[in-house]
């Protein structure tokens, strides 16, 4: 009796996990994260349990996978202001591949190489969030820094969006790592990083990026704690003046219509908090107390 009951229960659990149709909430403990996958209607969210709640890692609308559900994924396209023709993009951190769908549809010839540490995230991204890697969107399951060190290719965009339960591992925050990233950028390439504002870590992040990249531009995602930083490794031409950026009309793609408003992204440009940056310390491999600078105070926990 007990055995059949257990078998029945096991079958029930298996069936719930194997057929993700309709609304559901599933939880997975992976090697690196405690993840929640929740589907409400056509929207599937991937969240990571973290201090004080759950950090929303990614979300995809399965009825329109090209839709950018998460606010900051719009802002990642600010890279277009600095490198308008991204042919080769490296993204560190897969999440639910919310950014990937629109990018690859809009730039079908571009290579979007992704590096993801957590194999289970990659698996869930395919099984629950409808991501299908192709020759144009390969995914390597590896530590981001190891990939950057070992892969000698150059990239037009290098996007750093690697979070583990709401914070970025210290070795992906240091001056040495940013130098390795800069070395992998094409001469006119752009480094794009997703940061969280409102903590001491934020100012150290900015100061560390400034220590490597001569020109740094900041975009504050509207109403959220996310800040997208774009940085280039050249001093000339000047890119910090928005008046010198290409007109958004020349950058827009037909698929952006109704999904991505580059004018709105341009409006998110903000001034760097120079006074606070001056007081901050540069993070290095030798000194990176990232956890203690508290990346968790402001997070995209509550809202998209």
């Amino acid at each position: 009796m007990k055995t059949s009951l257990l078998c029945g229960l096991a079958l029930f659990v298996t069936s719930v996990q194997a057929a993700p149709s309709g609304d559901y909430v599933e939880r997975y403990d992976t090697l690196y994260n405690s993840l929640t996958i929740e589907r409400v209607g056509s929207v599937v969210e991937m969240r990571a349990r973290a201090h004080g709640g759950e950090a929303l890692e990614s979300a995809v609308d399965l009825s329109d996978p090209l839709k950018l559900v998460i606010a900051y994924s719009h802002t990642l396209f600010s890279g277009l202001f600095f490198q308008p023709t991204p042919a080769r993009v490296l993204m560190i951190g897969l999440g639910g591949a919310g950014f990937h769908r629109l990018f690859t549809a809009a730039y079908p010839q571009a290579l979007l190489q992704t590096v993801e540490l957590d194999a289970k995230v990659f698996e869930l991204c395919q099984s629950h969030l409808g991501f299908k890697p192709t020759a144009q969107t390969p995914v390597a399951v590896l530590d981001g820094r190891l990939f950057v060190k070992r892969n000698r290719e150059k990239w037009d965009w290098l996007i750093l969006d690697a979070f583990r339960g709401g914070f970025v591992p210290p070795h992906l925050k240091t001056e040495e790592f940013y130098r390795e990233c800069a070395a992998r950028l094409e001469d006119r390439g752009v480094f794009i990083s997703n940061l969280h504002s409102g903590t001491e870590l934020f100012y150290s992040d900015l100061k560390t990026i400034q220590a490597v990249f001569p020109q740094v531009v900041m975009f504050q995602t509207a109403g959220r704690g996310n800040v997208i930083v774009c940085a280039v490794k050249y001093r000339s031409p000047v890119v910090t003046d928005p008046a010198r950026w290409p007109a958004t009309a020349t950058l827009a793609r037909p698929l952006f219509a109704g999904r991505l408003d580059l004018d709105a992204v341009r409006q998110e440009h903000g001034a760097l908090p120079l006074t606070s940056i001056r007081a901050a310390r540069v993070l290095t491999d030798d000194f990176a107390p990232v956890e203690f600078l508290d990346a968790m105070k402001t997070n995209n926990t509550k809202n998209r």
């Binding site: 540490l117 070795h171 240091t174 790592f177 491999d285 030798d286 000194f287």
Partner: protein, 201 residues
């Protein structure tokens, strides 16, 4: 007074060994990341070093006095010289290992073995010596063993907490490693003197 000095040294060596593990993770992370794979290799290396060190230390503690003292000096010299190698040349060694061994597991094995195993094993040799020290002064062997490993483990806890919450947030890893070397040298010199102290009988 002798007992106070003895336990102070035991606590200090406990602090050093586990704090060193956290510093080791910071040394490895730029080269191999901070994944669970790195932690598995690091923890296993330390446990293997504790194991080998305890067995070798147990063997040394049973030697006749003159040879035992020589063994203790050799263990201290190995501990300090290998720790000095990690402190001074650790980062350069990791750069080289990373290039030489592209497979992460092999690179980690070589890194942990060359930078952490020897100093921790050599330090662990002194656990049985400390038990012998108490037993020779009339403490029953079982109680002596319990006291030494209990006090040492308290030092381990202090080492982890102190390193994680006070030292790493405020000091460079390289500075801390030099501090470790200096404290280890002072602790071992003190312990060697204590171990040579005559017994009451």
């Amino acid at each position: 007074m002798l007992n106070f000095a003895f336990y102070l040294v035991v606590v200090t060596l406990g602090i050093l060994s586990m704090g060193f593990q956290l510093l080791g993770s910071r040394l490895l992370s730029p080269h191999f990341g901070s994944s669970i794979v790195v932690w598995a290799w690091l923890i296993s290396t330390f446990l293997a070093a504790f194991s080998v060190g305890s067995m070798v230390g147990g063997w040394i503690s049973n030697l006749p006095a003159e040879r035992r003292h020589r063994g203790q000096w050799i263990a201290a010299a190995i501990a300090l010289s290998s720790l000095a190698f990690t402190v001074i040349g650790g980062r350069a060694a990791l750069d080289q290992i990373e290039l030489t061994f592209p497979v992460t597991g092999t690179g980690l094995l070589v890194s942990c073995a060359s930078l952490f195993f020897v100093p921790v094993a050599a330090l662990s040799c002194f656990g049985p010596q400390c038990v012998q020290f108490l037993a020779a002064r009339g403490t029953p062997p079982g109680q002596a063993s319990g006291l030494v490993y209990g006090v040492s483990t308290l030092g381990n806890i202090a080492g982890v907490m102190l390193t994680a919450f006070a030292l790493i947030p405020n000091f460079r890893v390289s500075t801390l490693l030099y501090g470790w070397l200096i404290v280890a040298a002072a602790g071992l010199v003190a312990l060697l003197r204590l171990l040579r102290a005559p017994t009451a009988s």
